[in-house]
Amino acid sequence: MRAKLHYRWYTPYLFLLPGLALYVLWMIYPLGYEFYISFFDWKIMPGQTSEFIGWANYQRVLDDKNFWLALENTVRYTAVTVIGQMVIGLGLAVMVHRVFIAKRLFRGIYYLPVVTSWVVVSFLFQFIFSAHRGGLVNYTLIDVLHMLDEPVNWIGETNTAWIIIYSLGIWKGMGWTMVIFLAALQGIPPELYESAAIDGAGEIGQFRFITLPMIRRTTLFILVALVIGGFQVFISVYLITGGGPLHRTEVVLSYMYDRSFDRLWFGYGAAISYILAAIVVLVSFGQLRLFGQSDDADY
């Protein structure tokens, strides 16, 4: 039985009001307003009139070669870093899970980059990969390992710039993946492994037939979260290459930022961010469908 509280019907709403009002005003309203802006040749300066141009912004974005390149780069970044983070994260989690000494120390070390700002770590990787001969990576490759003769201009070349950005993405994110996987591994009942051992399953068999199925839900959750994060990559690209040379390392968000806040093409930028949002929602939705299906199949 639930005791009845005599409160006026509007009391709960009164409680929610401050948060909800701000939330709608600062989050839902701008979201709609962004959609509105994307149909205009938007002028931010007071006194200038914005011209309604219908779907023209979207049309222009879809005809923009740089946008497609940025999208391709974003998809590639997402694929590489999501796979890298998940494989390395799971590998580390399995190992740390088996360790009895210093489990938390290892977990702590791998988690450090996660709590550090993207700005700081981007900065750090710029330093490590600096172009001159004394840069850490160049120096190590040339003078310590004797693998190269000439210093590499890591940031200046498209392909090598991606190496920096990919490795930063994996380095920064795998601690998070590891911690979540570790929590999932700790939730698997040990009896399962015991009975599998009795049935003669080896290490690999146990991993394949017990560990992997048992962490399936977690794996899918991590996948969805990482893919959403991957599509929104911005700071590392913006700070390390700035999208250059010639927009060749641009990702969708850095390109959106460049068009909006450097060129002041706000309508154009709004169209880009709506297209990106639509892609992210579609991809997440597809993955969540996967979630639901696997639940039905398993239980």
């Binding site: 210093a102 700005v119 001969r133 979260a225 961010s273």
Partner: protein, 365 residues
């Protein structure tokens, strides 16, 4: 954190670092580095050896896992028992080898992983000349030069102050609001509740660059452009979905009987919150505050868009500092350490709650 096993690993890490330094500086003229390396190595190895000795002598922690104890229950037939025996015999050696390999690998990975941290700290302590030297990135500073930190602090001091103002205000406001929302949504049924909660959760999935441009314009329109207040508000609202979710999940665990008892005693809507739920909320607040603190401190995109030079937080200032093609990295590196320190301190001191908050929120950081 500071258990004997942790010290052993820690000691091994420090010890190998020290040994490396000693080796590295053998041929150089700077004896100070070699001396330092020797001392660090000795201390590290002491840290390693003493606990190891204690460990072996005391043996208070079983070194091997309790292997398959459950399998030899009364029900287990002869067949299963014999298989367990063979499995155990085979796996004893295998396990040992495997375990050593795992430790070796994890320690190596950790060293590799921490390499960037090593270079930041050493570079920030070098003199500008030394930091600009080619071929010395791996070396330790010949003497500890704290000047870069002093200069960086003089330059970045106001930005650090901005960051603290921003982070503390936004964290506290979003935590309190999240707590109120969480209370209402967890404990009361009212028309519209099942619309409002999903609406709030929806906010967690909005790619926040999608609201950047209108938010920028909106903040300009209400004359908060370039001020810290606008940025604080943006962070409060952007953090609201996650704080609401964490508090809602937290308050759902509070038994409804407690609330009913309060109601019978004549407490009203607000009194129930203040007298019953709020006093229980400390762990929830800790989780939310740690989460929000790190998120807001580290955030960049809102900050760079919504502030101007006098109100910008440290992340933006640092990014601008990095903009120039610096060769003498000692100063920027000192700035990076200053920018990273607060979240690292929070994390090291309150790490346990951190992981818990992470799992409670289950949201990417």
């Amino acid at each position: 954190m500071f258990t004997i096993p942790n010290w052993i690993i820690f000691g091994a890490l420090i010890g190998s670092l020290g040994t490396y330094m000693l080796y590295d500086h053998k041929g150089h003229n700077g004896n100070q580095g070699a001396l330092l390396g020797g001392v660090v190595g000795a201390v590290g190895n002491l840290l390693l050896l003493v606990p190891l000795w204690a460990y072996i002598v005391l043996r208070d922690v079983p070194f091997s896992e309790p292997v398959l104890a459950a399998a030899s229950s009364a029900q287990a037939d002869y067949h299963a028992a014999s298989r367990v025996e063979t499995a155990r015999a085979q796996s004893e050696t295998l396990r040992l080898v495997l375990r050593v390999a795992i430790y070796a690998f994890l320690i190596l990975m950790a060293l590799f992983y921490l390499m960037p941290v090593y270079t930041v700290v050493t570079t920030s302590l070098k003199t500008p000349d030394e930091a600009g030297q080619l071929n010395q990135v791996w070396d330790l500073p010949s003497s500890l030069n704290w000047q870069s930190y002093k200069t960086a602090f003089d330059m970045l001091g106001p930005k650090i102050r901005n960051s603290f103002l921003l982070t503390i205000n936004a964290t506290v406001i979003s935590a309190v609001m999240g707590s109120l929302n969480g209370y209402v949504l967890a404990k009361w049924r009212f028309p519209g509740a099942n619309i409002i909660f999903p609406l709030m959760l929806f906010g967690m999935f909005i790619p926040y660059q999608s609201i950047l441009i209108p938010l920028f314009q909106f903040i300009q329109d209400i004359n908060l452009g370039g001020s810290l207040v606008g940025l604080v508000m943006a962070h409060v609202i952007y953090g609201l979905p996650i704080t609401t979710l964490i508090f809602r999940n937290y308050y759902t665990e509070v038994p409804t009987e407690m609330i009913e008892a309060g109601l019978i005693d004549g407490a009203g809507f607000f009194r129930v919150y203040i007298n019953i739920l709020f006093p229980l909320s400390l762990p929830g607040f800790v989780v939310v505050i740690i989460w929000q603190f790190t998120q807001i401190w580290n955030e960049f995109l809102f900050a760079v868009t919504l502030t101007n030079e006098s109100s910008q937080p440290i992340t933006v200032a640092l990014a601008l500092l990095a903009g120039g093609e610096a060769v003498k990295w000692n100063l920027p590196m000192a700035g990076a350490v200053l920018a990273a320190l607060p979240t690292l301190v929070v994390y090291v001191v309150l790490g346990r709650y951190f992981i818990r908050g992470l799992l409670a929120g289950s949201v990417k950081g």
